[in-house]
């Protein structure tokens, strides 16, 4: 394929780039204890929650930004970030989709997210987060019948304080890392899910995130508790409009899988990656972690195509005996995107098992790193890990890295790790082109094949969108 062809393909624009004009109730930039009090008051939070936030804020102030990740970006000025933004139409909060701001619904339509169609189509309940406040929640009634709680976390803090108090920060402690501490102090909203004992959630739960207000940090907080013997599949998908200013996103996701529970957490992430010159784009510094108790199973599946800088390690603490952790990931970077992503599997219980399948694709001038930790604690007898990370390089200016940390303190634990790096082979391309398939289509096919192991783990509703996102991102990077 010629250089001109590559260049023309690389120049493909971000298709989800537009801004919805909605008035927002935005706090001026800067962070101090008053800002936290304001956020807390705005959300009618109880006293204990405010205290919890303030404690996190004081911890955060003592901490320093981590620098170990294989990414570089201009230093973030935390005083230039606005820590609260809510759509104006919040005052009369809609009870159903009909009451939702039509402009907002229009936004989802442009993105191809059929919010009101989903009710009929897939039976997916959507807790849509537009900037920082939940404005549309569906299927609440149906879930209520099953005893499932699925609501904005701000509501859960008021309605189910005992559950929130017990589990919030139990998986990701406030002082876990710099961004987790920041999130604990200023988190705006997010989802709360509780699946009662023995209940299999009747539908897949889904949240679409969207960062909309310029210069507004998005600090989501998600807490999912699957009680004994329950099952839930949770989908998270995101896309953001085109911006020139870098936007910080520091979310925290905590999953608690009690005995015999199963949580499947799937993500499709397509935030604005910056333009072809590397200008703009989202900074995505996310802490995601799950605790799996006895016989529980946690599965992370992610398709990452967006963000200028990604720093994300969905992890499993396999605490209970026989618990299972899984991580399936496709991370695609193009232009000047940088991703440092991977997982941690901490084996504590006996006979715990984990599987890691990571597929990294780097194109353009991007950098894509897998960073993983597999730790076998002394008590993890009979534990098992299998890790496979493959990298595909498209273009001669991109970079792919693998940094797996493997620590074993138990002789009966078995760890296997393998990694490969290669480019799309000329032979494969030639074979396809010879049969009348365009280079672009051929690469798309090859990449899809490369990612198959991960795609097959995605729920049906997401698989379509994931394939679409990957194709759009790829169209601009074939070589």
């Amino acid at each position: 394929m010629s250089q001109e062809q590559i260049d023309s393909l690389i120049r493909k624009e971000y298709s989800a780039g537009f801004v919805t004009q909605i008035e927002s109730d935005t706090l001026p930039p800067g962070l101090d204890e008053d800002v936290i009090r304001f956020i807390s008051a705005k959300k009618d939070e109880p006293e204990w929650m405010l205290e919890w936030r303030l404690k996190a804020y004081r911890t955060w102030r003592e901490m320093t930004e981590p620098t170990w990740a294989h990414v570089s970006y201009p230093k973030i000025d935390f005083d230039q970030i606005s820590y609260y933004s809510a759509p104006k139409s919040l005052a009369d909060k809609p009870k159903s989709l009909d009451e939702v701001d039509p402009q907002l619904l229009e936004t989802y339509k442009k993105l191809g997210i059929p919010l009101h169609e989903q009710e009929m189509l897939a039976g997916v309940a959507v807790d849509a987060v537009f900037d920082s406040v939940s404005v549309a929640t569906t299927f609440r009634e149906k879930l209520k019948d099953a005893g499932v709680i699925f609501c904005p976390i701000s509501e859960a803090i008021r309605e189910y304080p005992e559950l929130v108090q017990k589990y919030l920060g139990s998986v990701v402690p406030q002082k876990d890392n710099y961004y987790a501490a920041l999130n604990s102090a200023v988190f705006s909203d997010g989802s709360f899910v509780y699946i009662p004992k023995g209940v299999r959630c009747p539908m897949e739960l889904s949240t679409y995130f969207r960062i909309n207000e310029s210069k507004t940090g998005q600090f989501e907080r998600t807490l999912i508790i699957a009680d004994e013997g329950s099952q839930v599949s949770y989908l998270e998908g995101c896309t953001a409009p085109m911006r020139d200013e870098n936007q910080l996103h520091a979310a925290v996701v905590e999953l608690v899988a009690l005995d015999n529970a199963y949580i499947k957490y799937s993500t499709v992430q397509n935030w604005y990656p910056g333009d072809a010159q590397g200008k703009g784009g989202i900074y995505n510094f996310v802490t995601k972690r799950a605790v799996a108790h006895t016989n529980a199973r946690v599965s992370w599946t992610q398709v990452e195509t967006g963000s200028a800088v990604t720093w994300k390690y969905p992890s499993c603490v396999l605490k209970g005996d026989n618990s299972v952790g899984e991580f399936y990931s496709v991370a695609l970077t193009n232009n000047f995107q940088q991703a440092d992503t991977g997982t941690k599997m901490i084996h504590i219980g006996k006979n715990t098992r984990s599987t890691i399948v990571s597929k990294g694709i780097s194109a353009g001038k991007s950098s894509n790193a897998y960073r993983g930790l597999v730790r076998m604690n002394p008590g993890a007898s009979g534990a098992r890990n299998y890790t496979q990370c493959d990298s595909l390089l498209i273009g001669d200016q991109c970079a792919a890295h693998t940094f797996p940390y493997i620590e074993s303190k138990n002789p009966s634990a078995v760890i296997e790790h393998e990694a490969t790096t290669s480019k799309v082979s000329d032979d494969q391309l030639f074979l396809c082109q010879q049969r009348g398939i365009s280079a672009e289509k051929a690469v798309s096919m090859i990449v899809n094949g490369f990612c198959k192991e991960v795609f097959k783990e995605l729920p049906m509703e997401f698989a379509v969108e994931a394939g679409k996102l990957l194709e759009v991102s790829l169209e601009g990077s074939v070589g």
Partner: protein, 439 residues
């Protein structure tokens, strides 16, 4: 600042006058150096406490007069030999008879004017002392070393054996060790670096830097064998520069110690260079051992095959870090790394990190790492045939590393190492013969 570095700052090493500039450069690096902690990535798993607790720097080694040849003799191995006892050259134990013309094998102290010129030019030309703290420590403290210069197109007829022997002294002491190889175009050399000690408990800290400078088409077979008594402390490194079409085959073997760390850095600086890097580490008791390897692919069309295997017994701890770095120009690189570990006890620990850092697209790179205990099925097979569990374990452990020992190009070294290793696994020599016969 740590006590170690503080003390270092006040030390002045002797040696020939031309070394003074080398010392000063080393000292300059160390003035701003930070003492590694658990937060320092390259020392994340290995503790430097043995160096902080014992004052090694106060004393230097002294030669002793005794017949020590039993500690390093390799049967059926005819080589040019230099022996240093506690860092002091021993003429009696060395043998440099019959060196062919065009080959220089000398001590730094004996370098003539032209040799000094080469030494000044090539010493520290490969090692980046500002990135390796202990290379800088060594640079500041060296008083003597070995320089091997092989001229163009010369195939050295016998291997070169360099023995660093230590024996306990009254007070803890340190020994700087230094070696520089300059292999000119299309020359060929076999090199054995042997680190041994007397059988009694040691109180030395040895720090060594080996630089291998291979020019176009040069070939080098290199063996670095650490068989010191278990209380010896060592931090060292091998730094190689490979010019176009040169070939390096480097083999490493290490038993553990309170602190034992070897850094291996191979720089592919010329297209078509090829490197084979193999190693075996066998810590036991409360020992630890740490191998950090880095392969820098800076130019196109180079290849690397790296295999390290470790058996960790008792309460011992092993660290392996294998980094392969492909620079943007290094297209058509082929690089492979494999690291396998066997844990023999509940308290044994291994931390391995095979790293790939790739900035070129037309490359084929792969790495694999495994950690496990002995295969139960294989053990069962032995037990069924009336072989005791203990015996079966020994044979399986031996088999795990035998592959690497067995493929050494110098048969005499294989024969030398086998009994040492079977002894390590707690067996009598009769099994050695058995295993050798089974080959």
């Amino acid at each position: 600042m740590s006590q170690f570095l503080e003390q270092l700052a006040s030390l002045r090493a002797g040696g020939p006058a031309w070394l003074q500039a080398v010392h000063d450069a080393g000292a300059a690096i160390l003035r701003d150096a930070a003492w590694p902690t658990r937060k320092t990535e390259s020392w994340k798993y290995t503790s430097l406490r043995p160096l902080e607790h014992i004052n090694f720097l106060a004393e230097r080694g002294h030669a002793i007069n005794a017949d020590l040849s039993q500690h390093f003799a390799i049967a059926n191995f005819d080589a040019y030999r230099l022996v240093f006892v506690n860092g002091v050259f021993s003429a009696n134990l060395s043998d440099l008879q019959g060196l062919p013309a065009g080959v220089e094998l000398i001590r730094f102290a004996d370098a003539n004017a032209s040799q000094q010129e080469l030494l000044v030019k090539y010493l520290n030309s490969v090692v980046e002392a500002d990135c390796h703290l202990f290379a800088a420590v060594n640079q500041q403290l060296i008083e003597d070393g070995v320089f091997l210069h092989v001229g163009k197109n010369i195939e050295l007829n016998k291997p070169v054996q360099i023995v660093w022997l230590s024996s306990a002294q009254e007070k803890p002491f340190h020994i700087p060790q230094r070696f520089l190889l300059l292999a000119e175009n299309h020359s060929s050399v076999i090199l054995v670096e042997q680190f041994v000690s007397t059988a009694d408990s040691q109180n030395s800290f040895t720090h060594g830097v080996t630089e291998l400078c291979l020019q176009d088409g040069a070939r080098c077979e290199h063996y670095r064998i650490h068989l010191e008594e278990q209380s010896a402390v060592h931090v060292g490194g091998v730094y190689a520069s490979l010019a176009a079409n040169s070939y390096l085959d480097s083999f490493h073997l290490g038993l553990g110690g309170p602190l034992k760390r070897v850094d291996v850095v191979i720089n592919h600086n010329g297209p078509g260079a090829d490197c084979q890097l193999n190693g075996v580490y066998l810590p036991q008791g409360n020992q630890q051992i740490d191998y950090h390897t880095t392969i820098e692919h800076r130019v196109p069309n180079c290849t690397t095959q790296e295999v390290f295997r470790g058996i960790v017994a008792d309460n011992a701890k092993a660290v392996f870090n294998g980094r392969i770095h492909i620079h943007p120009q290094a297209q058509k690189t082929r690089a492979e790394l494999s690291n396998k570990n066997l844990l023999l006890s509940d308290k044994a620990e291994v931390n391995t990190k095979p790293e790939l850092e790739i900035y070129a697209d037309d490359v084929q790179c792969a790495h694999g790492a495994t950690v496990a205990r002995m295969d139960e099925n294989a053990l069962h097979y032995f037990l069924m045939r009336g072989i005791s569990r203990k015996e079966a374990e020994v044979m399986l452990s031996f088999g795990f590393i035998n592959e690497l020992i067995g493929q050494l190009k110098q048969e005499a070294l294989t024969d030398y190492l086998r009994p040492v290793l079977t002894h390590w696994f707690g067996r009598e020599t009769s099994l050695v013969d058995e295993l050798a016969a089974a080959e």
